[in-house]
C-alpha cells in the first residue's frame, strides 16, 4: 500500500505488518501469557455468572413476588454496560484479578438469568400438564420437564452471556490489568503500534468465534436435531 499513499501506515496497518507482529507476539511468548491470563479470568467470571444467573433466574420463575419486583430491576441492570461497574469493583476488591472477574460476572449474569426466566415461562404448557398427570411435581417437574423444555432458550441465553462476558473482560483488561489480551492491546496503543492493536483484535475475534462454534454451536445443533427444528 506504500506506493498508493492513500493513508498513513499508522492509521490502518497492512496485513503483512499485522501478520509479522502477530507472529512475533507468538514467538516471544507474549501471546500465550496474555491468552492464558484472559482465559483464566473469563473462565472464572463466566462460571460464576452462570451459577448466579441460574439461581436468580430460577428464583424469579419460582417466586411471583421476586418476578414482579426484581425483574424490571434486572432488565435495567442488563442495559448498563458492565464496565461502568469498574470504579466500584476496584473500590471493593482493589486493583487485582477479583475486580476484573467481578466486572465479567456482573456483565453476563443478568443475560443468563433473563434467558432462564423467559425460557421457562415460554415453554408449551401442555408439557407441564401432561407431566403433572403422570405424577410430576416440585423438583421432578423442573428437572424432568421444565428445564429440558426450556433448554433451547437457555442455551441461547448462555451464548449471549458469553459474548457479554467476553466484552466485559476486554474492557476490564484495557483499563486495569497488568497482563491479558486487553492489556497487550493497550500497550500497542501506548506505543503507537497500530499493527499490534489489530493483531490482538483479530485474536479476540477468533477466540470468541471459536468458543461460540465449538461449544455452543455443537450443543445447539444437537438440540435442534432432536427437536426437529431443522426441517423447515
Amino acid at each position: 500500500m506504500d506506493w498508493l499513499r492513500l493513508w498513513k501506515p499508522y492509521i490502518f496497518p497492512s496485513p503483512i505488518a499485522v501478520f509479522t507482529t502477530l507472529w512475533s507476539l507468538i514467538l516471544d511468548g507474549t501471546m500465550s501469557i496474555a491468552v492464558l491470563a484472559s482465559a483464566k479470568r473469563i473462565f472464572l467470571g463466566y462460571i460464576l455468572s452462570i451459577i448466579i444467573g441460574i439461581v436468580v433466574g430460577l428464583a424469579i420463575v419460582r417466586f411471583k413476588y421476586l418476578d414482579e419486583n426484581v425483574s424490571p430491576l434486572i432488565l435495567g441492570l442488563q442495559t448498563l454496560p458492565s464496565i461502568c461497574w469498574l470504579p466500584f469493583s476496584i473500590l471493593w476488591f482493589g486493583l487485582n484479578e477479583s475486580a476484573i472477574i467481578f466486572v465479567i460476572t456482573i456483565g453476563s449474569t443478568f443475560a443468563v438469568s433473563i434467558a432462564i426466566e423467559s425460557g421457562m415461562k415460554n415453554i408449551n404448557p401442555l408439557f407441564v400438564r401432561a407431566a403433572k398427570t403422570m405424577g410430576a411435581k416440585g423438583f421432578s417437574l423442573y428437572w424432568n420437564v421444565i428445564i429440558p423444555a426450556s433448554l433451547p432458550s437457555i442455551i441461547s441465553g448462555l451464548k449471549q452471556g458469553w459474548s457479554f462476558a467476553w466484552r466485559a473482560l476486554m474492557a476490564g483488561e484495557m483499563i486495569s490489568a497488568t497482563k491479558g489480551l486487553g492489556q497487550v492491546l493497550m500497550v500497542g496503543r501506548d506505543l503507537a503500534d497500530i499493527s499490534q492493536v489489530m493483531a490482538i483484535m483479530i485474536v479476540i475475534v477468533v477466540l470468541g468465534v471459536a468458543v461460540d462454534k465449538l461449544i455452543f454451536g455443537k450443543v445447539e445443533i444437537n438440540i435442534r436435531q432432536k427437536w426437529g427444528l431443522d426441517k423447515a
Binding site: F127, R129, A130, K132, M134, G135, N144
Partner: protein
C-alpha cells in the same frame, strides 16, 4: 374403583358477566366402563375432564376418585390430550418410560413394560426415533402407550383423535376398542364426534351448553368388538345426533348473526321413520 362427580360447577368471571361453564353436574363413572362425554364445542366437556384430572379447579362441588376427593393431578388419572404432548427432547422409548421413571420403577422393568405397550400400539420399530420423526397418528399411539404404562384404572382422553385424518382416526378407534377390551380400564373419553362416541362407549353422556349441564345419557348395549359399518350404530348415532343438534344450534345461534337458521332435511330426520330398514 369409581369416579363420582358431585354437584360440580365451574364459572369464569369475565369483564362483562359471569359464564357458567359447568352447572351442577352429577355423574358417576364405574370401574371398567367406557364413557363418552359428547357435546357441542364450548359446552365445558373438556373443562369437566380437566377438573376430574385435577388440572383445573372447580368453583363448587367436588370430584371423588376411589373414595378420596381429587385435590390435584396424579398418575391414578392419566390424561391423553388432543395433541400428543410427547416430549421432543426424549426418544420414543424414553417418552413411554417417562411416567414410570417418575414413579421410581427400576430401569430394566421399565424398559420391558415400555416395549410391551409399544408392541400393543405396534410401534416397537420406532422406539429410538425422536418425536418429530413420527406422524400425527403415530404420536397419538405413543401417547396412548405412555398413558397405559402407568397402570391407572382410570384413563382420561380429551378428544385424542380429533386432529387426525379420518382413516387414521378409524384405525385408532378400533385399536382403542381392542386395547380397552384387553385392559378394561375406566375410560372417560371426551369427543364431539357422535359416530366415535357410539362406536366406543358403553354409555354416552350428552352435554348441553350455556350453562354446561348433562342433558341425557344413552346406554349403548351393542356387542363388541363393534365395527363402524354396523347399521345399529348408525341408528343410535342418529338418535343421539337429534339430541345434540339442538345444542349445536343453540351454540351457533349465540355465536352467529341473528339471521342464521339451520335447514332441516324434510325426508330423513328421524330414525323412527326408517320404513323398516335394518330389521
Amino acid at each position: 374403583m369409581s369416579v363420582v362427580v358431585e354437584n360440580l360447577s365451574k364459572s369464569f368471571i369475565t369483564k362483562n358477566d359471569k359464564i357458567n361453564t359447568l352447572d351442577n353436574i352429577n355423574v358417576e363413572f364405574h370401574k371398567g366402563e367406557f364413557v363418552c362425554i359428547l357435546g357441542p364445542s364450548g359446552c365445558g366437556k373438556s373443562t369437566l375432564l380437566n377438573i376430574i384430572a385435577g388440572l383445573e379447579k372447580e368453583t363448587a362441588g367436588r370430584v371423588i376418585c376411589n373414595g378420596k376427593e381429587v385435590k390435584g393431578a396424579g398418575p391414578d388419572r392419566v390424561v391423553m390430550f388432543q395433541e400428543s404432548a410427547l416430549f421432543p427432547w426424549l426418544k420414543v422409548i424414553d417418552n413411554v418410560e417417562f411416567g414410570m421413571k417418575l414413579a421410581g420403577i427400576p430401569k430394566d422393568e421399565r424398559r420391558e413394560k415400555a416395549i410391551k405397550y409399544l408392541k400393543m400400539v405396534h410401534l416397537t420399530r420406532f422406539q429410538d426415533s425422536y418425536i418429530h420423526e413420527l406422524s400425527g397418528g403415530m404420536r397419538q399411539r405413543v401417547a396412548l402407550a405412555r398413558a397405559l404404562t402407568l397402570d391407572s384404572e382410570i384413563l382420561l382422553m380429551d378428544e385424542p383423535f380429533a386432529a387426525l385424518d379420518s382413516q387414521t382416526k378409524n384405525l385408532l378407534q378400533l385399536e382403542l376398542q381392542q386395547i380397552w377390551l384387553e385392559t378394561r380400564k375406566n375410560i372417560i373419553f371426551v369427543t364431539h364426534n357422535v359416530e366415535e362416541a357410539v362406536l366406543l362407549a358403553d354409555r354416552v353422556i350428552v352435554m348441553s351448553a350455556n350453562p354446561g349441564t348433562i342433558k341425557k345419557e344413552f346406554h349403548i348395549q351393542l356387542a363388541r368388538p363393534r365395527q363402524p359399518e354396523n347399521i345399529d350404530l348408525a341408528y343410535l348415532a342418529a338418535d343421539i345426533m337429534k339430541e345434540l343438534k339442538e345444542e349445536v344450534e343453540k351454540v351457533a345461534k349465540a355465536e352467529f348473526d341473528t339471521d342464521w337458521t339451520s335447514k332441516k332435511d324434510p325426508i330423513l330426520s328421524d330414525s323412527d321413520s326408517n320404513m323398516g330398514t335394518g330389521i
